[in-house]
């Protein structure tokens, strides 16, 4: 039965707040003046920028020092990531490795894997892509058909992964594949492997999106040999492994800040003396951002405390995605007839063109509402 949603009050501690000014200064110094800032974590694959972030110790911040990490809290990581997103800095190169693949290896990886893969990630030199979806498996992840067959010293992979962001630019993919029968739960027989995207037997084909950009890819494995050292966790434990990270994947600031630069450019556009209607819109949007941020920090606090706030995380993502989609729709009506090079127009167009992805990636709105309904005891 429903026992209430658990968004405990939480504030970022002083040691986390103390990082803020440094990140701001860094971004202002490192980003060229003509760089079109974008708060979407998927936009902006910048190797040099990621390396500089790595040098500052801002990748793998929470990881143990022996693997290159900073042994910082989730709150400190939170401040760094939200500052980077709010400033519209390019973060997509290292994003998945930092948020997802690294923590996965820390939790389930072997000592050799941690020593091999984690330090280069923290230096901002090694990038990972997600290998979950397939042509016939989107929301229904348990239906993946890519198979791994055990051979001497490793596994042979065959199948196709889809929508893997930046796979054409990144070094590795963590692929979820079938290694055995699905069983009654359909969740058995899945395993995860680290695949070097430059290996023989791997073909990466970029797929152009509606914005004209090539961000996501089709990745085909044809008799691709993967050494047994690249198995992540236990054979058959893949389902537990992919679902364990959802709290981290779904509640971060990237789930409500994707359209933030539109807000910033709108504030610049209206200037110091906005009309009543303009100030009302700014205030409305700001109220949503402030509330979502409080909710997101509350989930970060639960994660820091070792809890598993799956329903709350799904809720933050769902609310946040709806908001970041609504933001450009509301702003555009206040900014007619902008010239083609106007920063607000550029920002609006970029965000609008990418906005369909907001409520699809990382769990569709429909899946999230199902997760929330289950958390409420309705199913």
């Amino acid at each position: 039965m429903f026992s209430g949603l658990d968004f405990e009050p939480a504030r970022l501690p002083p040691e986390a707040e103390a990082l803020r000014a440094g990140v701001r200064d860094f971004v202002e110094r490192e980003l060229p003046g003509d760089y079109l800032r974008n708060s979407d974590f998927n936009e902006g694959h910048a190797v040099e920028f990621s390396r500089k972030l790595g040098m500052r110790g801002w990748i793998g911040m929470t990881w143990p020092k022996q693997y290159g990490g900073g042994e910082r809290s989730f709150f400190e990581r939170y401040v760094v990531t939200e500052e980077l997103l709010a400033a519209g800095a390019p973060v997509s190169a290292h994003w998945i490795a930092d948020r997802q693949s690294g923590p996965l290896l820390l939790r389930y990886g072997t000592e050799d894997q941690k020593l091999k893969y984690l330090p280069p990630i923290t230096r901002g030199e090694s990038y990972f892509s997600i290998g979950m979806s397939e042509p016939d498996s989107g929301s229904d992840l348990a239906s993946v058909q890519t198979r791994a067959r055990a051979v001497d010293g490793g596994w042979i992979l065959n199948g196709t992964k889809l929508w893997s962001t930046d796979a054409q630019r990144n070094h590795y993919m963590v692929a979820l594949v079938r290694t055995g029968p699905a069983g009654e739960s359909r969740h058995e027989g899945l395993s995860q492997f680290i695949v070097d995207l430059h290996d023989d037997g791997v073909t990466v084909r970029p797929i152009k999106n509606i914005a004209g950009d090539e961000d996501f890819n089709e990745v085909v494995f044809e008799d691709c040999f993967v050494s047994e050292e690249n198995l992540v966790g236990a054979v058959g434990n893949g389902w537990e492994q992919v679902t364990s990270e959802l709290g981290y994947e779904r509640s971060g600031p990237e789930r409500f800040l994707s359209a933030f630069r539109v807000f910033v450019e709108f504030v610049r556009y209206v200037g110091a003396s906005p009309s009543d209607e303009e100030s009302a819109l700014i205030g409305r949007l700001a109220s949503h951002i402030m509330t979502l941020r409080q909710m997101s920090i509350s989930v970060a606090a639960m994660l820091q405390a070792g809890k598993n706030p799956a329903t709350e995380a799904a809720l933050v993502k769902s609310l946040g995605n709806d908001f970041e989609k609504a933001l450009p729709e509301l702003v555009r009506l206040f900014a007619p007839d902008l010239g083609p090079k106007h920063p607000l127009r550029c920002c609006l167009e970029q965000t609008l063109l990418h906005s369909p992805s907001f409520t699809i990636r990382g769990g569709t709105r429909e899946i999230l509402r199902g997760v929330i309904a289950r958390g409420l005891g309705l199913r």
């Binding site: 504030v267 409305r284 941020r293």
Partner: protein
């Protein structure tokens, strides 16, 4: 009194005494059965248990405690001018009922000994023109010739807005509970309607709005003694006001015709939400307050203001 003790006492008193009949009888308005009967017995118990002065200077409790107990009262649709009683007793002392007027309109002025106006006047001789909000809660116009002055803090309007935020977030939580329980019991097509995906998704959306409201309300209370208080209350009044409309709509939709009857208690919460979101400034007033503040710091410091580390 400690906060836990207050909350425990309040929960017990509200559970035992705040019945639907009591709320129905307290309603004021133009309909034949809207008698505006003040719940005298409940008021006596509130005074005996000290619940009438939570947040008062001598009570050993804080203003934050007052907001939290107002939230609980919102969850019970308490038919007393409870926010006005607590805020009134914080700023003036005296036997009997103190209420607070927004402009010239004060909840239950007809039953009050004295009225504080939000521009800092203390009035104890006044005439009353009875009125009510759309929830049937008495909202009386006061007419007076003389007053004393009472010193109110500069953020008084934000404090009063916060009482509505707190009460609304309580009522919103109640609506979520009522709705989850109703869709689990109501059967159509041979199964509980909670089994239908369309219903599940509406309730999930509602849960998001309710959780956002609770968080926004708590965040504003947490900011009480800081210079962020007014901005946080503004954001909360905006966010919770927006949620009130959405949640009331979904709650009624989920309850069907049953929830549209006067007999069902759903309207004690939905009508209050529709009324409270307009009291002490509807969304637009507070949107503009934040909007102007952000515009004045400019685009490059907008994030600093939002992430509350503005210096």
């Amino acid at each position: 009194m400690t906060y836990d003790l207050i909350l425990g006492t309040a929960e017990r008193v509200f559970t035992d005494h705040c019945t639907k009949a009591l709320r129905d009888n307290a309603e004021s308005g133009s309909k034949d059965d809207q008698h505006g009967v003040f719940p005298e017995d409940l008021w006596t118990i509130m005074q005996e248990t000290g619940l009438h002065q939570v947040g008062g200077e001598q009570s050993g409790t804080s203003l934050a405690d007052a907001f939290r107990v107002i939230r609980l009262a919102g969850k019970f649709a308490l038919p007393l001018p409870y926010p006005e009683i607590l805020i009134g007793n914080r700023f003036v002392t005296g036997e009997g009922l103190t209420t607070v007027a927004e402009g010239a309109i004060a909840p239950w002025a007809r039953r009050a000994e004295r009225v504080i106006t939000d521009d800092g006047q203390l009035v104890d001789e006044f005439d009353v023109v009875q009125g009510a909000n759309l929830a049937g809660e008495p909202r009386d116009e006061i007419i007076f010739e003389s007053s004393e002055s009472v010193k109110l803090p500069t953020n008084f309007r934000a404090i009063m807005a916060m009482t509505r935020v707190a009460a609304m977030s309580g009522a919103l939580e109640k609506l979520l509970e009522l709705t989850i329980s109703y869709v689990g019991e109501r059967k159509q097509f041979g199964r509980p309607i909670s089994g239908f995906q369309a219903v599940q998704h509406n309730v999930a959306r509602m849960a998001g709005e309710v959780a956002a409201s609770t968080r926004a309300s708590d965040a504003a209370i947490e900011a009480l003694d800081t210079d962020r208080f007014v901005v946080q209350v503004s954001a909360a009044k905006v966010r919770v006001g927006e949620a009130a409309g959405i949640v009331a709509e979904i709650a009624h939709q989920a309850h069907g015709a049953m929830g549209f009857t006067h007999e069902h208690e759903l309207h004690h919460y939905t009508r209050r939400l529709w009324a409270w979101r307009d009291e002490y400034g509807h969304e637009k007033e507070w949107q503009q307050l934040i909007g102007c503040r952000i515009a004045s710091v400019g685009a490059d410091r907008a994030w600093a203001l939002i992430s509350d580390c503005a210096d």
